[in-house]
Subunit: 348 residues, 2 copies
Amino acid sequence: MRNAVLVVAAPGVAYGPGMTTKPQLSWGIIGTGWIAGVFAEALAKSRHGRLQAVASRTSERARTFAKKHRIAKAYGTYADLLADPAIDVVYISTPHPSHCADTLSAIKAGKHVLCEKPMGITAAECERMVTAAERKGVVLLEAFMYRVHPQTQKLQELLAKGIIGDLRCIRTAFTFDLSVLPITGANVRIDPALRGGSLYDVGGYCINASRMIAGEEPATIDAAWSIDPATGVDRACAGVLKFPSGVLAHFDVGFHSIPTNFIEVIGAKGRIHVASPWWPEQKRAVITVQMTGKKSKEVVVRNGGWIFTIEADHMADVIAGRTKPLIPAANSIGTARVLDTIWRRMHR
Amino acid sequence: MRNAVLVVAAPGVAYGPGMTTKPQLSWGIIGTGWIAGVFAEALAKSRHGRLQAVASRTSERARTFAKKHRIAKAYGTYADLLADPAIDVVYISTPHPSHCADTLSAIKAGKHVLCEKPMGITAAECERMVTAAERKGVVLLEAFMYRVHPQTQKLQELLAKGIIGDLRCIRTAFTFDLSVLPITGANVRIDPALRGGSLYDVGGYCINASRMIAGEEPATIDAAWSIDPATGVDRACAGVLKFPSGVLAHFDVGFHSIPTNFIEVIGAKGRIHVASPWWPEQKRAVITVQMTGKKSKEVVVRNGGWIFTIEADHMADVIAGRTKPLIPAANSIGTARVLDTIWRRMHR
């Protein structure tokens, strides 16, 4: 047993076949924004993980966060957390443009990394991150938590069965009202220097889902946006993608409107609608399937659970080799390419 | 009373204030395709119109159509119908690229014109048609039947009240399966030379509605499409429009998939969803309004009626001066500009 315990403390290897206990993965959180708090709470319910440390750019912010979430260690620099040998895996939720450097530092320190989306702000950044993780032999995943929820697995299962016939079009949306988020202090979401704006905040969901459903990378990328004059970032963005197979996708995202969320896939013979694709209902997630001329039917995923907890446990499972990643880090390169293409047009 | 009856036979003037009877408007139909049949049936229920004649490019087709729809006169050329002094108004449902010339001929003959959509295939064509009608003093309307239904009036009323706050985004769709239409013989919808394809067939609905809701013309137009290799026309098209106010619109249309139809408008504080915007339910048309954090509410339009009959009666009302056009012909210029912009990119 002693070996197993030691193994847990050493990044890269943990629980494997034949071992009889499920050792806990030790988590560190880098960055103390709103989503870091959501993830910290979710980790508390994780089967395979324990939140052990948090790091911020100031000791004060780290201590405040640690106190609120009952975390043992609070570090005033990211480097101090990365130097802590007790930490196996870090969750990076710093501002978007810092993701690449922070991830590379963590990988260099031998930590597994769950990096908030967008993983990198360009395809080149993502490629560097993926290569570094592969070379070091650590697990790197982009925190697209909706991808690991059973509802998303069910959606992919339905699509794989081909029940709606040849795919024609994918419609997605993710909008909300930024002013209702419990954010205090400076908000990175409205800072153009940090790739603030709705595109980089939630556009990745629609792009990630469209690519997942089409099963390929878009051949053409077009978009329109609305810049908020007060902040200089896009408060809304709508885009249209064409995939080589001929499948089309269009979407809108925004953070100054009523919340709306959906994935809708239309095919030659039917339609699949997911009403809460990004933050699925925990108790009863519903996918609606309608075939031409028929009444719609509900496909229900019961007790699917809380996505962030599932995500933490999925990360543990991947690290332990119990499962393959549901969304490999390399997949993030494609999303980054679309995001960056639109961003550059938006700000040229 | 003699005067009133005479007036009906003379285009341009019909029933006016102070007159005690509602004289019947005499209709002629040019073109005998599927939609012409739908309109002929609708005219039979019109309060203010009677279908008197039909013209096709062959006497045989005209006679077959006349027999089926119990029409007194069948003409083997369009010119013969236009020369008939008993006809007040013509409904033009020839292939898209013929709309302009056929409309100009009808106007020259002093007929009022209800022209199938798209009114012209380019903005320039529409401008010529509008100018000609104005000069001749006849009424010209584009047959955007959904615009005259009470459901659409209610939607505009709700938007005018500003209940959902500043507009952010407009989502629309119109798809169906061409193979289920009862079309016999050659289908103009799949002929590239006749601007066949889903964009010109139903794209106008999404573009017309988006412009109606935004209340202005788009500043940017982007699109993607899927060309059916068997026919050379677009079987699906998705677009994104940006309006000068910052409102965004995106849509998809197609005619090789499950039917889907909706208009959804999202604003800063709420959302309006129309589930059957293009062919509204006759008995109970429902508009759903949802405000942030509240349960959605239904706004119901009862017994709104059959759109094509309403359209015929609206045409009669406009000709008689009883009402102003709900969609003036000049409005069609903007739709044509968007359609043509996308078409030219699609086929360059």
